[in-house]
Symmetry: C2
Subunit: 227 residues, 2 copies
């Protein structure tokens, strides 16, 4: 074999080798991706720990509160997922009285995240409900219009790509005492239907499409500008 032919064979061999390695890498990535997107399951009750660092990321001094620090719990994971919102948060929750969760939603709203909330008609006015605080801050909240029906969902959609759903109402009892579950997933086949359901409920409960109702002479449906 002449030197020229040898160079040709070596050149072709090198090209084939590089292409082969590239193809194997592609296959490896494809097979690894087959495990799919994020899937996380959180169980409650969750022990009480300090979650201050999740709200104030650039704090210079460590928190001085008496709760355990640097401990990851189901509740802190839930907060991390909620606070990961950058564009939107669609929340559909039956009962909402948890102060830290309310603080998280208010922080997102302050940061410019578009927050929409659909809640239950009866439970939005119970003692300790955070719905009033959200409305006061300018967050648009709609509630189930029918008094005969409960809006019993407990799910949130972060940036329309991450679903947080389960049995957990957003209350202190649910987080700290009850046996509850929350699933977090970015699986499009699961996120999609929940996003559609949220939009359906959002539109169905638009106060503009319903007659105002009065209780004891007072209007009991608050309207808000759709974002």
């Amino acid at each position: 074999m002449s030197c020229k032919e040898l160079m040709k064979v070596l050149g072709l061999g090198a090209v084939a080798f590089v292409l082969g390695v590239e193809w194997l890498n592609w296959l490896k990535r494809r097979l690894r991706d087959s495990r799919g997107p994020l899937k996380e399951v959180l169980f409650f009750p969750s022990p009480q720990v300090c979650v201050e660092h999740l709200f104030i990321r650039h704090k210079h001094f460590p928190c001085a509160c008496p709760l355990p620090h640097g401990v990851e719990t189901s509740f802190s994971r839930l907060l991390v997922h909620l606070l990961s919102a950058r564009v939107s948060l669609d929340l559909c929750v039956f009962s909402f009285s948890h102060m830290e969760l309310s603080r998280a939603i208010l922080l997102l709203h302050k940061q410019g995240v578009v927050v929409r909330v659909v809640t239950d008609r009866d439970y939005m006015t119970i003692t300790g409900s955070q719905i009033g605080a959200l409305r006061k801050a300018g967050i648009c909240v709609r509630h189930e219009m029918s008094s005969a029906v409960h809006m019993h969902h407990k799910f949130a959609l972060v940036d329309s790509r991450k679903l947080i759903t389960g049995s957990l109402n957003w209350t202190l009892t649910a987080v700290q005492s009850n046996k509850e579950n929350v699933m977090v997933t970015e699986e499009p086949e699961l996120v999609g239907p929940y996003q559609q359901e949220f939009q359906k409920l959002w539109e169905a409960n638009d106060p503009a499409n319903h007659k105002p109702q009065y209780t004891n002479g007072q209007l009991n449906i608050k309207t808000c500008k759709d974002k």
Copy 2:
């Protein structure tokens, strides 16, 4: 090329061809599987339709009830998934008063499916609760032992490989009136943690590990033989 050499080349070519086809088929299956296992989302309320055919599969005559027939709903899909159990059904449910769901569980038990139920202490005795009927039939039911805590889960595990979970309690109001969601999946990364949680609750609420408690002079913890 001699005839012998030609046969060798053809033989090796055939073997290479068959192996190549097999490998391509394997790759095709692997890439198709990357879409992942069953994922289904059901929303409620569900319209009332006849579900008799799901209970009596070999019925010769069509059902004469006045409800719509041959219509698939979220509730009929839920029943289909539950009735697909062949070996076991582990159920963790806060409130259980739905007659058709009770009928499904009793049918599975009759068919030899090992049914285990964990429920809430307070809600198992409310009017219309089906827990008594399950126990009467010999199904082993355990309840949250602490009176200060609610067992608020609403999930089921079919044959330890299919998870049914969501906001839906097993009541008529939840199925026919409320806004509720149920997710059905065979994703092992999701099924696994729920199966572990069930086992944890099952063992934690074993009456054998708890002192019997009395209310108005009557023992209020029923024991049953573990299956």
